[in-house]
Symmetry: C2
Subunit: 340 residues, 2 copies
């Protein structure tokens, strides 16, 4: 392992002082040194493969150029990847790196990890959840600029970003109404979470707008899983007055709806149209026919969180904001006009 080359080596090789090298390389201060010298120093630095030690510069500048990302159940959800990628892309574009920790549901461990992040002098922290929820962030975060990702904080002093759940429900209804459906049911998640309330509210609002009432018996809630969706769909689709279209809380429940339809001898989309939420490629692309679904903007939320954090770091007085990011429709083949 070639022993590391430091700024002193560059100075020696270029025949100038350490100061001059630092200035020459610093963009902001390079005006203080002769253009020809700058050129020369850069060449020498390049030849030597010099790369500044960020530990040292972080120490000196009180700015580590590291952002912490603390998340919960990264393992059990397929969304984590997109969120991390969005955050990392944004960070990388601005010369920052991401330190990722996750602690499952263990609060004590989470606080410990946050302290570890702080010891490494992270410049700020993204506090991420894997599904939209209301959280109260650990108190150790008081000491660090923080953005809440895919959740809202009880502390309004923290900026946050969540999907536009209402809009997702609204767009799904629009899609089905535009296809000509009138008898549309929703298979909701039984949990008391913003996504369930928001999607239902948006869905209902859009139907209202079109003069279509959503009858109570056309909203059935189940466990948020394929099995839960299957049971709910079995119920709805075996009624005498069955709906011609189903809006499902998520793609997993929509997968259950497909299974129920198949079991009852109904075809998607000829006999029943289905719309999901999440755009899990694995499911939405895998189902046959492909599932039209509202994509959850995990990548964009990750990006937004980092950008916002960097902005607040730059400008500590910037107002805190609470962003909702739209959920675009991804059309596949699960929606068709109702028969007859």
């Amino acid at each position: 392992m070639a022993t590391k080359v430091n700024i002193r080596d560059v100075a020696k090789a270029a025949g100038v002082s350490v100061t001059t090298v630092s200035h020459a390389l610093s963009e902001a201060h390079s005006s203080r040194v002769n253009a020809r010298t700058v050129e020369h120093i850069k060449a020498v630095a390049g030849d030597l493969g010099y790369a500044p030690n960020r530990l040292a510069s972080g120490l000196r500048n009180q700015r580590s150029q590291i952002l912490g990302l603390v998340s919960d159940e990264i393992t059990t959800t397929p969304f984590a990847g997109a969120m991390i990628q969005g955050a990392q892309d944004a960070a990388s574009e601005h010369g920052h790196l991401l330190m990722v920790v996750n602690s499952g549901l263990d609060n004590e461990l989470e606080r410990q990890e946050i302290r570890a992040l702080q010891q490494h002098q992270v410049d700020g922290i993204i506090f991420a959840r894997m599904f939209n929820q209301q959280v109260s962030v650990p108190e150790e975060l008081r000491a660090v600029p923080t953005i809440v990702l895919d959740a809202t904080s009880d502390n309004p002093g923290l900026s946050s970003v969540v999907p536009d759940e209402f809009g997702a429900g609204d767009s799904a209804a629009e899609l089905l109404v535009a296809a000509g459906h009138r008898r549309i049911a929703m298979i909701n998640n039984e949990d008391d979470i913003p996504a369930a309330h928001g999607r239902l509210a948006g869905f209902r609002a859009a139907l209202d707008r079109h003069g279509l009432r959503l009858p109570e018996e056309f909203v059935v809630a189940g466990h948020s899983s394929t099995a839960g969706g299957r049971e709910a769909a079995l119920d709805l689709l075996s009624r005498p007055e069955r709906p011609t279209a189903l809006f499902c809380f998520n793609d997993q429940m929509a997968m259950g709806a497909y299974q129920a339809a198949g079991h009852l001898g109904l075809r998607v989309p000829e006999d029943v149209s289905v719309v999901g939420v999440d755009n899990l490629e694995l499911i939405a692309d895998g189902l046959w026919p492909g599932l039209s679904t509202m994509a959850l903007p995990h990548y964009e939320m990750g990006r937004w969180a980092v950008l916002k954090l960097l902005n607040e770091l730059e400008n500590p007085e910037a107002p805190r904001t609470h962003e909702k990011i739209p959920c675009p429709l991804v059309e596949r083949q699960s929606v068709a006009p109702p028969k007859g």
Copy 2:
């Protein structure tokens, strides 16, 4: 934001020198200071909420306590989460933190990210791929201790860890044979990758062991996707001498096999048994009936990689090793004895 408390503040508050505080807190050197003093210093440090600045100690010790994890397509695969979690858990248990970067398929970007990691003085790097493959690692990694994760390197000087693909195929065959099947087909991935070769070889070896030949026409390769699995299964299951059991390259292809079976009026597992590989909860748990499948040990591989890296850091002369981790069977309901 309360201004940070440093070791000097602790020393002042405790009425001793900075050195003494450092020694008292250092476990290894705490013998150099009176036990009562140690006690006192620890108390004061606790009261003040002192936490050592790792940037500074890293600079001084030439040991950042940071590990880099560079991966490719974290977004598009659901495995990334488990791999990262495994790595992070192991790192955290040993007082290290993980810096995660991913670069999609952009090699230039990847090298850039690796250099960024190096600037932050990571102690070592995990070079991870999202599916088992042969790689030649970027040359910048020559300068840092590196472990290859879910891939093998053309450079044998790098330790690596992959799933036991052969074993997965072997166990799958064992399961089906034990259930009484004789006419068993494999739906393989058409790509020229270790997983495809390994699983097929293991599968074939186990059948051989039981005196069952795997006829060439019972190995059909398709695109690694639900659609690819569907087509292959459609082919296999509509033959006059159709197989009674299908071993699928992965869970997505198995999902396609379910669809094909459904389409042909065959039931799983009564008419055809199915086994997958991956144990993607989303699919394996979501399918109806649940899919029996060989779990890919992503969590364990992540763990192993970090542990091995830490070990090589500790002990640079440790021999490099190339590990295969077993793929345990996760039984659900997709296997039953053949009819008649």
